[in-house]
Subunit: 437 residues, 2 copies
């Protein structure tokens, strides 16, 4: 394999695989160290995943939640970015293999994040849509608008219903936010844009395997969320599994069947596997076992942070930390410190997770927020949710464009970006093929 064309320096080289929350925070905190940082990602942008669901429901432009990695790191002189896909590791030689050539490393950090987890159900995987990438979100938007347009061509309600039954699986924040956004499409957009389609032909289902929504929040918040979604017209089904889905009929564990052409799956994530590491450090959930310093078990200079890393040093989280942005960010920052300490031959610091709280938006004027002892819901929680997300977005332009879209939507009840950019993709299977290639 050819050598990757990267300038050689005298500084040790830190190769970071993945430009998500973990990767970019680690890279930023290595700014003033005498190291060469090589950041690799298969895309050329950092994706603000918490707002992905708004792209798929026509609330935000895809471009406003993606930020070019070159833009983020333009001023960081010790960093080189390359768009590349990792294909393997030869750990004994300190060599990383990528689709565009080989690369020597002194430190190697996997920050590859997570992918949709279908828990091994291949038939569901073949027919459902995940919610992890920008292209998936754009395709969902196109697909959903197409269902509405095609419904107009039909007169038999029994033919229309499967097109307008939207089934979300997974009652975590993504599932709740998606279901809320679909319920708002039903409430505000359907009657205005498609007055000839009776509103009762569109139904939004939220299926959760556990006994409550937002299981990582308090029980009271779960109840508030359930009530809010039901007020918006979402049919929430708790303690229910999806057994089968053939693209047309969703079969639930309680025997019920829902005719639907759209199954949106956010019931779980799993680590994105890395080729070339020994099988025994990869856990069945796709994550990599790390110690409290984010070191991959059995390696001195290979690390994993964020969703892909499974660290079990905290008794509150016996199965590892939750796969959320905050853990990735904090692990990135801690690892940067440890690389510095290590280079200074000082003792390194074990990772300690500080839970800054969680929040989810349910719809217009409705959100739930938990920050330590502070719990709130309703309008004020919704404002807090907006401010926190707006402030976390990278870049002034993105903040402003997202703000305008929200502002506009709030006062007009409109969604500006209901356009179908990509034509074709007559069904979800074709759509998935388009996504994967």
């Amino acid at each position: 394999m050819s050598q990757l064309n990267i300038p050689e320096t005298n500084d040790p080289r830190v190769v970071i695989v993945g430009g998500g929350f973990g990767g970019i925070n680690l890279a930023k905190h290595l700014k003033n160290l005498p190291v060469q940082v090589v950041l690799l990602d298969r895309n050329n942008y950092h994706l603000f995943q918490p707002l992905l669901y708004q792209v798929s429901t026509a609330g935000l432009e895809p471009d406003s939640i993606a930020f070019p990695l070159r833009g983020i790191f333009r001023k960081q002189k010790n960093l080189v970015f390359r768009m590349a896909e990792v294909t393997g590791v030869r750990a004994a030689e300190n060599i990383l293999e990528t689709g565009i050539g080989e690369l020597r490393y002194d430190y190697l950090v996997f920050a590859t994040g997570s992918n949709t987890n279908f828990f091994g159900n291949k038939t569901i995987e073949a027919q459902a849509i995940g919610m992890k990438s920008l292209i998936e979100a754009v395709q969902i938007r196109n697909y959903v608008v197409k269902q509405f347009e095609e419904s107009l061509l039909l007169s038999d309600p029994e033919e229309i219903k499967p097109k307008l039954n939207f089934v979300m699986v997974g009652g975590g924040p993504t599932g709740v936010e998606l279901a809320g956004a679909f319920a708002e499409l039903r409430k505000y957009i359907l009657p205005k844009d498609y007055p000839s389609i009776p509103q009762n032909l569109m139904n939004v289902y939220l299926v959760e395997a556990g006994p409550r929504l937002l299981a990582s929040f308090t029980e009271k918040t779960s109840e508030t969320t359930l009530k809010s979604l039901e007020e918006l017209g979402v049919r929430v089904m708790l303690s229910t599994h999806v057994n089968e889905y053939d693209g047309k009929v969703v079969t639930l564990s309680n025997g019920e069947q829902i005719k639907s052409h759209s199954l949106l799956w956010s019931a779980g994530v799993k680590g994105v596997p890395v080729a070339g590491l020994p099988a025994d450090i990869l856990l069945p959930n796709g994550r990599i076992l790390v110690n409290e310093f984010n070191q991959v078990k059995g390696y001195e200079n290979i690390y994993a942070i964020g969703d892909i890393a499974q660290m079990t040093n905290d008794s509150r989280f016996p199965k590892g930390y939750p796969m959320v942005a905050q853990v990735a960010i904090q692990q990135g920052v801690n690892l940067a410190k440890n690389i510095k300490l290590g280079m200074q031959k000082k003792p390194v610091i074990a990772f300690h997770y500080k839970d800054l709280g969680s929040m989810a938006t349910i719809g217009r004027n409705r959100a739930v927020v938990e920050m330590g002892k502070l719990k709130m819901h309703g309008f004020f929680a919704w404002v807090v949710w907006m401010v926190v997300h707006l402030m976390s977005l990278l870049g002034f332009r993105n903040k402003l464009v997202v703000f305008i879209n929200w502002f506009y939507r709030y006062f007009t009840f409109e969604r500006g970006t209901r356009i179908i950019i990509k034509r074709g993709a007559a069904n979800i299977v074709k759509l998935r093929q388009t996504i994967e290639h």
Copy 2:
């Protein structure tokens, strides 16, 4: 073929094919008439084509120059929109055939616009990229950023050059604006985002078959434009044809060869053919012959407006009116008046084109504007260009988002949307296949 599901009324039905400038202006002006307007388009949005080149050069989000047709016409109660592709006409029966069913009409109006014209050169058509649709513009953006990323992997300048040689063909407004925007990418973005690529490896060529750029403007303006582009570093070649292009080498009529992976073709447009009309009313340039009332020759109740219509009632334009937005808009408005007059049994009015002027932007602080006797260039022309385009954009949200993007770019020299959304498409041929399906 099945019947298209559209409510029957007692009013005569005007079917408009195409939601471009002509189609939407006709439809709007039929608002208060006792007619049923059926608007068909293959997309669900109106595209503001004059700013398409900014999408392809990462200056604007695709969503900000597209406006959902349902949004435009939400309040027009006598209008029905359907997303459909026309497949034929049975004029004797007053029936329009579409991909989603048949449709009876009382008046039928073709406003189908134009497509890229490769003047029959199949090998160029197979390898070049056109600039007429939103998906083409997004794909060009993705493709261009990809060329930069891939150049980083190479060390031999002779291998890099073909990736960074961008050849625009056609010296009309689109070609000039594109060349200017590419020259600005070279000047402002390349040195910042890709400091390791020597600037002289990137070259922007503009090839025009005629003796001057912007042939529809005055000679003085052509000269100003040429000078401005050359100052920006564009290599302009006048009185030069592209003879061949195999995807790797552009062969010009003067024998010169340019190694380039990117040939952007805006050298001409032709009407989008409509199936089912007799061959003799279709001209070789794809346009439909109409009389001064936009009536298709030989038919009482079939009309064509805008780019697709060729009307030769004006001695200034012996080959028909130019294929620009203003003609389409004015013909749409005039036809609406004539439909009203016809229903009132009053004499109809022949179309009279009022030239409101033309303008083209060359780059930052540089544009050329001609409005009647008023001719200007430079900073003030550039401001006029921006204001006119901003005001012509549909919708408050789109205006605001475009304004912010321009404002941001002006002060930061940045382009916000340099992200590659779609992966794959390793070369232009594949890219074109993606576009066409």
